[in-house]
């Protein structure tokens, strides 16, 4: 399937990525080539095949993964905010949400 620069811009919007015209120009043929390559999977009849769900082994699937609902220590507000680019008054501050 051809991938146009307009497709690239649409996907970039979905992925919250900024794309310069130059990047769109480089990515469009590269992505088209990779997508064409993965389309070789269409050779395989998978109509009767169940999709794999994640990477778990049968033993992993049988493992009881829930634990007792006990309160454990957590990072706490100070440590959680410690590396924020713009913390303010115990919160993460972000630029204006509504333009």
């Amino acid at each position: 399937m051809p991938i146009t620069e307009a497709d690239i811009e649409k996907v970039a919007q979905l992925a919250h990525l900024e794309m310069t015209a130059e990047e769109r120009h480089v990515f469009a043929p590269q992505m088209a080539e990779i997508v064409a390559y993965v389309e070789q999977l269409n050779e395989i009849d998978t109509s009767a095949i169940e999709p794999a769900l994640g990477g778990l082994t049968p033993e992993g699937e049988r493992t009881e993964s829930s634990r007792a609902d006990e309160v454990l220590p957590s990072l706490g507000q100070k440590l959680a905010l410690d590396q924020a680019p713009d913390p303010a008054a115990g919160h993460f501050r972000v630029p204006k949400v509504l333009a």
Partner: protein, 491 residues
């Protein structure tokens, strides 16, 4: 640098000290970093302090030195290097990316907690492809690692720094992560052992997520016994990672032996066909003959869907990556772009300035294959073919105990050779991605040098939870046919 186990024995017996061992590793790391660029952070002060604590602890156990100290601290004083996508409290975790800025995780990965409890000393964080995406290390935001065998060549990726640090003898052992071959492929290109455990064997808690259904922390070593010792520590169920399985961890060291007689090794002739470098094919065939001499039965097997593995992998891995990397938004930690007046613009600018081209390409691909209208055609289709790849392995392992393949299609290539051709780069992983898709364990074992004196790796794949068997096969091979040559650059 001596093997980890020997070093531990000498430290515990008093022949040497943890401080001396760690200092020597730090000296090597610092001396070679201008040449190899293997480390992004070297923690001299922290590592020496930790070594001193261990020395005091060992000396304080008067009269009980020996077996008791070994069981209490099986890696006492052993210097180790950690890939920079595994969280170590107080040290940086950059993942080879600018977007994490000066991030220092406030907690340890479970594998790190266990290593520290075993007496290991972390000397530094190793360079890697950005977010573990790459097969050459050229995608690190901090410049590529160089291959110690030839610094004009790539060390492989993405765990290139850990592979190079072990190959160059800076440390006896290191941790990496393997999503599609990122431990085994650089191990192959750098001439060391690389272990990718079964999915669910080692906790992923504190490993920065790339492809969550594929990622496993793995081990680099020069000897099977060292790989066994480190895997012993980090393997096992962890409450903090629900995907770790409740499967007993065998005594890997005790199960090492040279006796592999009667084991059946599967070989797929199709995988030794087209597209494979002649010298790699020769080396792998010779390695298979070594096993035959050791009494291993060689059986023909077929993995009919292996040829589709790269296509499946680059759908599933990019889909998972696009989701996992959505968390880098410049809000809670890491880098934030300046001069963005509104939230959405801030996200876009932060991610544009923070991510490198390969990470963007994969986020784009993953977003595309998951987007409305395409999900069934790509993602669901890939998950179905993944089932077929799992079935291939189940059928093969009914006929054999382990499978032998090349690890990588060529020895180390020169910088720049594939950097503009993403698809050619992805095809480096053609032999390794199947194990991640199926969840099975794999080891790369050095099996000779090319005419240009570059290492070649043999890959051994086994059924789920067969790490002990794979390590035994590795040990038996190395006893018979050790790689004696050393890289040009070494400590």
């Amino acid at each position: 640098m001596k093997p980890a186990i020997k070093l531990r024995d000498e430290i515990i017996s008093g022949e040497t000290t943890a401080r001396a061992a760690v200092e020597s590793a730090l000296d090597g790391a610092e001396k070679l970093n201008d040449t190899l660029n293997a480390f992004l952070e070297i923690d001299r002060e922290g590592a020496l302090n930790r070594a001193d604590v261990i020395d005091v602890e060992i000396r304080s156990q008067s009269g009980a030195v020996g077996e008791k100290s070994i069981s209490a601290m099986p890696l006492a004083g052993v210097p180790i290097a950690i890939k920079d996508n595994i969280c170590v409290r107080g040290m940086q975790t950059s993942c080879g990316s600018r977007i994490l800025g000066p991030y220092k995780p406030p907690y340890n990965a479970t594998a790190i907690e266990r290593l520290l409890a075993s007496g290991a000393v972390i000397i530094g964080k190793t360079n890697c492809d950005e977010f573990a995406m790459g097969s050459s290390n050229e995608n690190s935001a901090f410049g590529p690692v160089k291959n110690p065998w030839d610094i004009a060549r790539v060390p492989g990726g993405s765990s290139g720094g850990s592979a190079a640090a072990v190959a160059a003898g800076i440390v006896p052992v290191a941790l990496g992560s393997d999503t599609g071959g990122s431990v085994r492929q650089p191990a192959s290109l750098c001439g060391v052992i690389g272990v990718k455990p079964t999915y669910g064997r080692v906790s992923r808690y504190g490993l920065v997520a790339f492809g969550s259904s594929l990622d496993q922390i793995g081990v680099f070593a020069r000897q099977a016994s060292d790989a066994a010792a480190v895997l012993q520590i980090i393997a096992g169920r962890d409450q903090l990672d629900a995907t770790t399985a409740d499967v007993p961890v065998p005594d890997y060291g005790a199960e090492l032996s040279d006796d592999v007689k009667g084991l059946r090794l599967g070989v797929s002739r199709a995988l030794l066909g087209q597209g494979l470098n002649d010298e790699v094919r020769d080396a792998v065939e010779k390695a298979i003959e070594v096993y035959r001499d050791l009494g291993v039965e060689i059986v023909d097997i077929d993995l009919p869907h292996a040829k589709y593995a790269i296509a499946v992998y680059y759908i599933i891995a990019t889909a998972e990556a696009s989701s996992n990397l959505a968390r880098y938004d410049g809000v809670r930690y890491g880098f934030r772009a300046e001069e963005a007046p509104a939230l959405r613009e801030m996200y876009r600018k932060t991610r544009d300035e923070g991510f490198g081209p390969e990470v963007k390409r994969r986020i784009m691909l993953g977003t595309y294959v998951l987007s409305a209208g395409y999900y069934d055609a790509y993602y669901l289709k890939a998950q179905k073919v993944r089932s077929l790849i799992k079935q291939d392995f189940a059928q093969a392992f009914a006929k054999c105990d382990a499978i032998a393949t090349p690890t990588a299609p060529t020895p180390a290539f020169v910088f720049g050779e594939k950097v503009d051709d993403p698809l050619a780069m992805y095809l480096n992983d053609v032999f390794t991605v199947t194990a991640n898709l199926a969840g099975v364990p794999g080891i790369s074992v050095p099996c000779g040098l090319s005419s240009e004196a570059l290492p070649i790796g043999l890959q051994l794949l086994g059924p789920n939870w067969s790490e002990a068997l794979l390590l035994r096969l590795t040990h038996a091979y190395q006893s018979r046919n050790p790689l004696r040559a050393r890289p040009r650059v070494h400590a």
